[in-house]
Symmetry: C2
């Protein structure tokens, strides 16, 4: 005996979610079965409503309820700088630092031929059309992840943007704050040495 | 800036699920936003339909689409033995061994005063009404977890059942197969020593 058809179906659907294996899917399914009807309604309505209401901001391609999004339509932000990130999560992570006051551009992925993600799948065309529409952009900060894919994507965008005369920068890599040199990996350590600065 | 209201709401709902922290809830939410409309429909319909179709089997209290459940209505199973488990997951785990041919009884929890789970919250009354309805039950196997709460619950049921003359057994505890004695904890090891058998 396995589970009943509708429970099996629920477990299968939950196991499709990222980071949810078959054990977690079972645990989630049984939790859902134990909920009150109103709680199930809250959950499914939140899913449907978020999916229905959310679109991509025509400017920065971030998820938003209103187009343009809150950041792109905020007149207090520095419109001369665009920080290019891989995913919407990265926007919220950078916002949390309260350090950055410019705009963003979300690529929705990185160039990853091994995972069948080509450059066409990224919002790079949208970035260029944005650079053409707005002539007040002075700097593009490439804040893709410090991975092979993130580096390759940053390199590609950099080569395409540079001829236009816009300044292109990359967020620094180095030893994380609070870390021990003893436990740093070789690549990080050699990058940190090369990028040493006066003190 | 945080996320838009409907995305914030979705993250909050997902973070209520067991084992899903705020980071996982964010990742799941963004995954859901990236799905096709039909995939979102599959997910929410699976949730609603599993919750709607699933009830408790009046006999064993396991989740089921039809009452009595597939195990309780299977005439080939040994109706003289009931294996008492904490949760529906445990039924499927024991079934996987293909070792057990009797019936089950699902308590839906264990006695855990610290987490405000009293004996009333468990399906113990239902177990006794079952023992009264069926006079062909010869053995109750207590297969609650080998934890303080599982032991206490097993002890409680054992004391209540024994006067009726029904045999009460507890699944064995000892060293797991493939394990090293060196790494066994003291309680497991002393239980394994006490429960030694001829070889």
């Amino acid at each position: 005996m396995r589970y009943s058809p509708s429970v099996t179906q629920l477990i299968a659907e939950l196991a499709k979610l990222p980071g949810i294996g078959s054990k977690s899917a079972q645990r989630l399914a049984f939790h859902i079965l134990s909920l009150e009807k109103s709680q199930v309604k809250d959950l499914t309505e939140a899913i449907v409503s978020a999916h229905h209401n959310t679109r991509l901001c025509q400017e920065c391609q971030n998820y938003t309820d209103e187009d343009p999004c809150a950041i792109c339509s905020d007149t207090r932000r520095d419109r001369s700088t665009i920080c290019v990130v891989e995913s919407p999560k990265d926007v919220s992570t950078i916002e949390r630092t309260r350090e950055y006051k410019g705009l963003y551009h979300v690529l929705h992925g990185v160039y990853s031929p091994l995972q069948n993600v080509g450059l066409d799948a990224l919002k790079i065309k949208e970035l260029f059309s944005r650079l053409q529409r707005h002539d007040d952009i002075r700097e593009i900060i490439l804040a893709t992840n410090q991975t092979a894919e993130g580096e390759a994507t940053a390199m590609y965008i950099s080569r395409l943007v540079k001829p236009s005369g816009i300044k292109v920068t990359r967020i620094a890599s180095g030893l994380p704050m609070g870390s021990d040199i003893e436990f740093a990996d070789d690549i990080t350590l050699s990058k940190a040495l090369k990028a040493r600065h006066d003190f």
